[in-house]
Subunit: 320 residues, 2 copies
């Protein structure tokens, strides 16, 4: 990227979230002024307090479902990292309007603000769930047809489509990152968090959704952020699509056992049965990561190490 | 399909359009009561007047951008053919809100009405433009990644994604048809119509957008409707994705020459140059149609015959 763009502010939507706040820290560490947009529905402003006190982050509490007020945030920005979204896939099944508004329509509003402010680059956090239930593992970026199984997944694919259209119509450059399961500090959803919350309520038994054979790959948040930033530097297409994950699957059964082992005392593990944990769950996920590897990235933690670190971090956070 | 579903009303959104009205006729010919929803922005109610007089079609002028009033239309329906959309790809580039609202959000509203009324089947008219600029020809349904180049294409892909999510979450069955260029009576857009309109204004010269080497496949509307109805009967997946086109490309240059030849007098053809006709144009399109062929469908008219019939039909309509 040009040096003027390197010193221009970076906008991070969802920047008070578990991934966005780590990204904001890294951008600031590289000397970039950062503007965070977050509606604080799941984000926490405390995560940014050091950065805000240092004058490195300007925080705007805005709801991306409406376009009002976005202009000043995007004006003069060198790039937009669009990470804001409803973080819990399960919510959408009961109320499909959540992902439509907080996903698709929010992205449309961000992209309109990008167009009006002439921001040259947009980086978007998509998800492996756009593949639906793929029949090829590891699943490459070229896999199709894309048949999402949840409202969350539909909103991610719709957002990818909008970003691609904006790139081709208005000269923006785009990066689409299809995330594996990202784990790290402060994540208030996902299998590790759910299992630990259950043990907090009843330390003697652990209910596991599904038959425990669901198997996915897990990526530590720092590896995720490093991958995105490397791809921004090194990928040169108008629209760049990258899977971001690790090369190993960890079955849910093994995660449950790792959680129990971390306590060093006996716990009865009970499976609810069925192949998926919930409506819209994708029981098997393993992404092909050759494309991002070819740019020079590789994760420091493999899936098991990422899960173990997530267990110890989340235990600490929950006081367990 | 079950016999109760065969006698239940079929809803056709965009049913006053050039494709929807042909579909409505065929459904009525098979003894189905039809409910048409159309906002008449490009549809014409006259197309349905015979069917309405015969009591076969119930017409509702409704704007799908808002969910109001959809309930009674969808109540008790056996299936929904969702064809309503902004028909002109070029409009979206100047105003991205058109395809967002008339495409993606309209589809979301239709699907919510489907869910509330418990309609068992949804058939959706998508488009070859979801493939962006593919690198494989003929392009199979499994092609990826899908990188749309226009707001229209983004809305089609977003709508596919929503339909897929509804199918997997709520027990609906879905059909996604990715159309080649459909030609037929009453089409007020597309290359044949545009060229004839230009000749109407100036019979001595014909301006052609691009270098004339853009080459796409053309499908006559009756073949398109027959293909969709056959796939509904014979495809049994929860979500069924089919390309619908012909096996031949016709270059725009050849279409211009066929148009001129149809008049039998000299016309100067002038090319504006450049590989695409307009921002968001996909210069090369040829769909793999093996999947729908394997069900027993094949088009009666090949691309050239479809173009020739479109020329003579449109000339008659324009009084040329």
């Amino acid at each position: 990227m040009a040096s003027a763009e390197r010193s221009a502010p970076a906008v991070v939507t969802g920047g008070a979230g578990a991934i966005g706040s780590v990204l904001a820290q890294r951008l600031v560490a590289d000397g970039r002024p950062v503007r965070v947009v977050d509606n604080l529905s799941s984000g926490k402003r405390e995560r940014l307090s050091t950065l805000e006190r240092g004058g490195h982050v300007r925080f705007s509490e805005l709801d991306l479902r409406r376009p009002d007020g976005l202009g000043p945030v995007f004006e003069g920005a060198g790039e937009v990292w669009h990470l804001a979204a409803n973080p819990d896939i399960r919510l959408g099944t009961n109320d499909p309007s959540i992902d439509l508004h907080h996903g698709t329509i929010a992205t449309a509003n961000v992209l309109e603000a990008v167009r009006r402010a002439d921001v040259p680059r947009v980086l978007f956090s998509s998800s492996s769930v756009v593949y639906g239930r793929p029949t090829v593992f590891p699943t490459p970026e070229s896999y199709g047809p894309l048949l999402p199984q949840s409202q969350y997944a539909a909103a991610k694919l719709a957002s990818e489509a909008l970003l691609s259209a904006y790139c081709h119509s208005y000269g923006v450059r785009g990066w689409i990152f299809r995330f594996a399961n990202i784990v790290g500090p402060g994540m208030a959803h996902g299998v590790v968090y759910d299992l630990l919350q259950k043990l907090r309520r009843d330390p003697t038994r652990l209910e596991v959704l599904g038959d425990g054979r669901q198997a996915k790959s897990y990526l530590w948040v720092d590896d995720c952020v490093a991958g995105m930033r490397l791809a921004e530097d090194r990928a040169t297409d108008r629209v760049n699509v990258f899977n971001l994950g690790t090369a190993q699957q960890v079955p849910v059964r093994e995660i449950a056992e790792r959680v129990v082992r971390s306590f060093g005392r006996p716990v009865r593990i009970e499976y609810t049965g069925g192949e998926g944990g919930w409506v819209g769950d994708i029981p098997l996920q393993l992404l092909a990561i050759d494309r991002i590897r070819a740019l020079g990235w590789s994760p420091e933690l493999d899936s098991s190490a990422a899960v173990d670190r997530a267990i110890s971090t989340t235990r600490r956070e929950l006081g367990l």
